[in-house]
Amino acid sequence: MEKERIERYLKNSIARGRLNSAYLFFAGILQDKEKTALNFAKAIECEKEDFPCNTCENCLKIESFTHPDVKWLKGEGAVSSLAVEEIREIGKEMYFKPYRGKKKIYIFEIERLNEESSNAFLKTLEEPPEHTILLLIAKSDKEFLPTIVSRCQKIMFSSKKVFTEEEKELQKKLIKTVDSLSLESPAHLFDIAEEISKSDSLPLSFDLLLYFYRDLLLLKNRAKDFLINSDLSNHSKLNSSQIIRIIKNIANTKGDLHRSANLKLSIELMLMNILDITRPQLQPQRLKVSKSTKKDIKIWTQIYAD
């Protein structure tokens, strides 16, 4: 289902007093699931009749992640998971009645649970007190024990993302920039890298690029139905393996955002890699390049020697 429809559905179940004790939000896009979870929590705790009002104390505290009854647990590690102690702690704590809200809400953002954690989690799911709601945000429902999944109401998010006009513009611009890359003017590449690294729409820029290549890949594989609205003309020359390499490349660089890597350097490397992937037929030695550009190439081949 789309995010809007899911939110409408959840709001209705609150109004009818038909809340489940556990939900599993899966598939789709993480930001959508997070946003929906936040809105759902607000709608549950909101004091107003027309919930969520986004103005009452409950709503505001949930928005700023300081509500005492709404706990957000993000998994740690490469494959995000929760330690068994953490889950046991929650299993104990959830029996205390809500501090100020109507329900106690635990939002787990995890991809997978190991065996021990799964069992602990199952135990908390077994007989949750009436005032608790557990919400699992995951990539897939396949990563968890079927006994866990069967105790949750499964809500599948649609991966169809609707871009705003601004996002569409930005995507177009980015693609255009990537297309304009050329080995003949490395200075231009550095400028672009600089520009991207300094823009304030950073994680989004990566996402937009990723979506673009994702669509391209889907189109190549004749999976038109899953396309996110993108203009894909002119890129049909790339083959699947090239596109996958590009996607990996962008995703890696996006990961650098969280590390304190030198962002500009990472983006330069990303752009050059893309260039390298998209135009492998152009070998540098076959190019006619000026002396100064040669020097440039020499410099950056040294920098990225490994």
């Binding site: 029996y95 009645k97 809500p98 135990k123």
Partner: protein, 365 residues
């Protein structure tokens, strides 16, 4: 905010907060103490979402307002300050400044909005009871609560308000402590209250004063003096405890000196080992024998006088469970009641107190 407060008053107030400051908080604000200055009072509040403590101390308020101070650190600083009037102010950058004579401290602050708002209290039922009486009831039952049991209701104490009485029950499934006191209650309700609250109350309650209790759907509030102790109620159904009491009929009762029994159990259990850790209690007319036989460690036996006239019988208990109850009673004599070596036994004080301690025997080897 700008106030000046006596060090002694502030240190005393902060001392009361200790139980509610969370050292590994799920929200950053939970490791902070909220200071609110208004009128001629300074309100201190700390919470870990399970237990909330609020107290009032006198102070001179030059500018009212509120701020958050890092709980542990602030308390430690105040403790080390000389006995004098302490100036506490908030500077333009929202930092807390503490000044006495020529000593200055500046602490980073946190937006007061991040501190959880106190649950609404007052609309619920309220009742009053003597602090000393409640304290005794807590003492008699507290030790039976399980520390690390998976079942939530076993990590708390049952407060059962009846029309004419208050009953407290604590259990860890192997033993159970029950106490009943006549007490006119305006509500009939069973509540399970967490161990943290019980410990806090045991510390805070005095003797002669009256404690005011307010019961709300999710919280219970104890008001003693200027201090409010608010605790979340544990959700759950407490196991029905009446069924485990041994029936009065057929109960063999042995009367024995409490201190004498404590000494005997302590001495004999010196030979308890990991494998053989239960003590055997033999009852014969006018005497009682406490013994242990651990093949690897040795044997011990001690005879103590007892008032008993029935047939000889024997039962085994975990000595820890016996000592726990003996230490928390005060009477000169106690009464042990047994029906069968494999069925729950009873320990009671030799007094009018309506107290029952039920413990499961260990199988006699």
């Amino acid at each position: 905010m700008e106030i000046s407060v006596e060090k002694k008053d502030l240190a005393n107030g902060l001392q009361k907060m200790v139980g509610a400051i969370n050292l590994k908080p799920s929200l950053p604000a939970l490791s902070f103490i909220l200071l609110e200055a208004e009128g001629e009072k300074l309100f201190l509040t700390a919470t870990d979402l399970e237990l909330t403590i609020k107290t009032i101390i006198p102070c001179r308020v030059k500018g009212k307002g509120k701020l958050l101070v890092p709980g542990r650190r602030f308390t430690n600083i105040i403790k080390e300050l000389p006995e004098a009037e302490i100036e506490i102010t908030e500077d333009k950058t929202k930092k807390t400044c503490i000044a006495v004579n020529n000593i200055f401290f500046t602490l980073p602050g946190l937006k007061t909005e991040e501190f959880p708002t106190l649950p609404k209290i007052g609309k619920g039922t309220s009742l009053k009871m003597k602090e000393g009486a409640l304290k005794i009831m807590l003492k008699r039952t507290r030790f039976s609560i399980a520390y690390d049991e998976t079942k939530a209701f076993l990590r708390g104490l049952l407060f059962s308000f009846k029309k004419d009485s208050l009953i407290l029950v604590g259990t860890d499934t192997r033993r159970l402590a029950y106490i009943r006191k006549s007490f006119p209650s305006p509500v009939e309700r069973d509540l399970i209250l967490p161990i943290k609250l019980i410990d806090e109350l045991e510390q805070c309650l005095g003797q002669e004063e009256e404690v005011e209790v307010a019961i709300n759907p999710n919280q219970i509030t104890f008001k003693t003096g200027d201090t409010l102790i608010i605790s979340q109620i544990i959700e759950g159904q407490f196991p029905s405890y009446e069924t485990v009491f041994p029936p009065e009929e057929g109960l063999k009762k042995i009367k024995v000196k409490r201190l004498g029994l404590i000494d005997a159990v302590r001495r004999v259990s010196l030979l308890a080992s990991e494998r053989y850790n239960s003590l055997r209690f033999d009852f014969a007319p006018k005497k009682m024998t406490v013994s242990i036989n651990s093949p690897e460690v040795g044997e011990a036996r001690e005879q103590i006088p007892a008032e008993y006239s029935g047939e000889t019988t024997a039962i085994s208990f975990n000595p820890v469970y016996v000592l726990d109850v003996l230490k928390n009673l005060e009477t000169e004599n106690i009464i042990i009641g047994i029906t069968d070596p494999l069925k729950p036994a009873l320990i009671q004080p030799d007094s009018q107190e309506e107290y029952k301690y039920v413990l499961m025997p260990v199988k006699i080897e």
